[in-house]
């Protein structure tokens, strides 16, 4: 199979859909000639023209409001936020309009839109351009939340998001844009709410999201050499969450480590840990659940400190060993 980058997979998913479906268009800051802050839409203006690749003023609130309005009137907009940190400006449109309207009008209207936005640290972009705020939107009923970790997943999940009749918040990780993977040329669909077991194991379950999926897999390889057999699960979508796959895995391993880049306090890891504690898997837990997340501070600008702010492979190895009393 052909290998392309995560970034190319995002672009390909949108282009293929736009060729088929006249209702799909993209709006965002500098997505036209410039190709977007990370170059995701580069070349698309030439193919689809300025009507469908729409540059907007620097107002996230206006972008989101336009997306909600056009979705209500039958379009299927994809809005791009340059950095996921800027969702703060769009929040009223997303939380009070996009998430609520279908419910409040008894299904007479719907908001089929995708909000694509890059999140995460590791690029030296400092505190206002490095956050992982996905837990905020998972709290709002009416929004679906997607966090793909591989090129294959990002294409199939974006297709599913564009097909969905509800607003989907689609997080792309900045450091993953350049990672490569095997991606089919044709369109395909990965259902929202279906986790992926990235690695099978029997001793400990790691549930990791976005870039942490890769660190968890590296940690698992290292632990394998010490005879520790780790299962790595990528939920892929936080809302809806594939609880069944996680519960089944923890029932098998009896141990759970949850890893995400977002600040640990109030992070989505707390939701996953609580879900397990309330579930059938409780009786199979053989060690306290561990959560790894970002430090409770703004993301530092110093590269060393920025690295220390988020869980690294060594932290995951250590946490797994602790749950096995082998630290």
């Amino acid at each position: 199979m052909r290998e392309i980058t995560y970034l190319e997979a995002v672009r390909e998913a949108m282009s293929q859909e736009m060729r088929k479906n006249e209702d799909v268009f993209i709006l965002g800051e500098d997505i036209g000639i410039y190709g977007g802050a990370f170059g995701v839409t580069r070349g698309m203006l030439e193919e689809f023209g300025p009507e469908r690749i729409r540059n907007t003023p620097i107002s996230e609130s206006a972008i989101a409001g336009t997306a909600v309005g056009s979705a209500l009137t039958g379009m299927r907009p994809i809005m791009e936020l340059q950095f996921s940190d800027f969702i703060t400006i769009a929040m009223d449109q997303i939380v009070n309009q996009a998430a609520k309207l279908r419910y409040m009008y008894g299904g007479k209207g719907k908001v089929p839109m995708v909000l694509r936005t890059p999140s995460g640290s590791g690029t030296g972009a400092a505190a206002q351009h490095s956050q992982s705020l996905e837990a905020w939107v998972t709290h709002i009923p009416g929004l679906k939340v997607v966090q793909p970790s591989t090129a294959y997943d990002v294409k199939g999940l974006l297709k599913a998001s564009m097909d969905d009749d509800n607003p989907v918040i689609f997080y792309e990780h900045k450091l993953l844009y350049k990672t490569k993977g095997d991606v089919p040329e044709e369109e395909y669909h990965i259902p929202l709410g279906q986790a992926d077991v990235k690695r099978e194991g029997k001793d400990v379950t790691i549930v990791a999201t976005a870039i942490m999926v890769h660190r968890a897999q590296e940690a698992a390889e290292e632990l394998e050499r010490e005879g520790i057999n780790v299962e790595v699960i990528d939920p892929r979508t936080l809302v809806p969450l594939d609880t069944e796959t996680i519960i089944k895995s923890v029932t098998k391993t009896g141990r759970l480590v949850v890893v995400h880049e977002a600040v640990k306090r109030g992070g989505y890891g707390g939701e996953i840990a609580s879900m397990i504690a309330e579930s059938e898997a409780f009786d199979y837990l053989d060690a306290p659940i561990k959560r790894l997340g970002g430090a409770p501070s703004p993301v530092p600008y110093n590269p060393e400190l920025e690295r220390m702010h988020v869980p690294q492979k060594e932290d995951i190895v250590q946490a797994v060993k602790e749950t096995l009393n082998r630290a």
Partner: protein
């Protein structure tokens, strides 16, 4: 208004007191200054006098209860006053607990769980271990946990069951055991891989008969001073890395010194000078040059003491107490003899004040009256060293290439290797030996 009676805090290290006896019954009149009850601290027995006048209304604690300091143990007031049926928790303590809870709820919960565990009420086990124990019908109380703080994991329950089932025995041994009523768990196997044979069962069975026909043994509960000594020794031996150095000292010169000073001091004070006081004087003198040994190790800090207060281990009925002789460096031998004799006598009569038993900076334990050469004394915490004194005996020694008979004595110095290294401890003991062999140095 009824007044509380508290368990007093009599020294800085006292945390609990053991109630030895009440001198008054509930309903009896009490005067100010009358002895109300007697307690045992980590150092001493003491009678506690009443601060109030009135009627003893309530006693919350029985004899032998160990009561934390500042706990209410009773009430004094007017004869018809009402007091709570159970001892109230002091307010200050409650506040402290509140504060702690605010600070760190999780740690408080953790502590509580541990305490539960100690009381045997709750076992620390994972949900999986509990499920396995339910399914297999194994009591968690009987399983040893391998996790942190003894947490029981599922694997522990499984291996405990396997262990219980893994007693290997010959079929005949099994039959004999059934017949004789012997449990195979208590039988040591001598066959291959520890397999239990018929003869193992039979010998176990006869041993069982022997032990059951034995007289019941006398059991004495550790309490009072014995308990205090036991706790302190265990704490010291367990927490302090002890090293003991020994040195043999030629005591000829000290014998001369004592002989010439004995009548003078006896005439002046009425007490007879003993070798202990001379060793103390020399020790205080030498400690002046080796302040590391006249120190305390408290909470990862070495505290150097200014004065030399020598603790003197005194054997008493059912225990050991250590009165402290303060400022030995400033005392002449006459004054020191009086101090030592008086403290020793008080100690043996159990009349020491708590203040007379605290503040020592270095301890001397003299077993010279027994046939003991050297020994390994246990440090009196928080001190960092202790000197053991052995018996003085005439021994052949080599002097100027000929053999002479000299009164020889072994000094045993135990030191806390966290605070002191071997070389400085050896230097101290060497200088002490020189000082005793040449006491004129004490005049310098």
């Amino acid at each position: 208004m009824a007044k509380e009676i508290f368990m007093p805090k009599l020294s800085s290290t006292m945390e609990v007191g053991t109630l030895l006896q009440w001198f008054k019954e509930e309903g009896e009149e009490v005067e100010v200054g009358e002895p109300l009850f007697e307690i045992m601290t980590d150092k001493i027995n003491i009678e506690v006098e009443s601060y109030e006048e009135g009627t003893l209304l309530k006693k919350y604690n029985e004899v032998d209860d160990e009561v934390p300091v500042n706990t209410i143990i009773g009430y004094i007031g007017e004869a018809d006053e009402n007091v709570p049926n159970s001892a109230p928790v002091p307010e200050s303590e409650e506040n402290e607990t509140d504060k702690q809870e605010e600070k760190d709820t999780s740690s408080v919960i953790g502590e509580k769980k541990e305490a539960d565990c100690e009381n045997g009420e709750k076992v620390r086990a994972t949900p999986a271990a509990r499920r396995v124990s339910r399914e297999q019908g194994i009591m968690l109380e009987e399983v040893e946990g391998s996790g942190p703080k003894g947490r029981i994991h599922a694997m522990d329950v499984i291996s405990s069951k396997e262990l219980a089932q893994s007693i290997r025995h010959t079929p005949l041994a099994g039959k004999v055991a059934d017949k004789e009523g012997v449990s195979l768990e208590n039988v040591q196997g001598t066959g291959s891989n520890g397999k239990i044979t018929k003869s193992d069962v039979l010998s176990a069975s006869s041993m069982q008969v022997e032990t059951t026909t034995q007289e019941p043994l006398e059991h004495v509960k550790l309490k009072g001073l014995r308990k205090a000594v036991a706790d302190k020794m265990l704490e010291s031996a367990r927490s302090i890395p002890h090293v003991t150095l020994t040195a043999e000292v030629d005591m000829s010169a000290v014998v001369e010194v004592r002989k010439s000073l004995l009548p003078i001091i006896e005439k002046q004070t009425g007490y007879r000078l003993s070798y202990t006081e001379i060793i103390m004087t020399a020790t205080a003198h030498v400690l002046g040059n080796h302040r590391k040994l006249n120190a305390a190790l408290i909470d990862n800090e070495i505290v150097y003491n200014k004065s030399v207060n020598l603790g003197l281990a005194v054997a008493v009925d059912n225990g050991l107490i250590v009165p402290s002789v303060p400022n030995v460096q400033d005392k002449g031998l006459a004054e020191l003899t009086v101090a030592c004799k008086e403290l020793g006598a008080k100690a043996r009569k159990n009349k020491l004040d708590p203040v007379e038993m605290s503040g020592s900076t270095f301890t001397i334990s003299n077993l010279g009256m027994y046939a003991i050469e050297g020994f390994t004394p246990i440090i009196n915490p928080p001190e960092t060293a202790i000197l053991g004194v052995g018996q003085m005996t005439d021994k052949p020694v080599v002097r100027d290439k000929s053999i002479e008979i000299r009164p020889m004595m072994v000094l045993s110095l135990s030191f806390d290797h966290r605070a002191i290294d071997g070389a400085p401890a050896a230097a101290f003991l060497t200088e002490l030996k020189e000082r005793l062999e040449n006491p004129f140095g004490l005049l310098v």
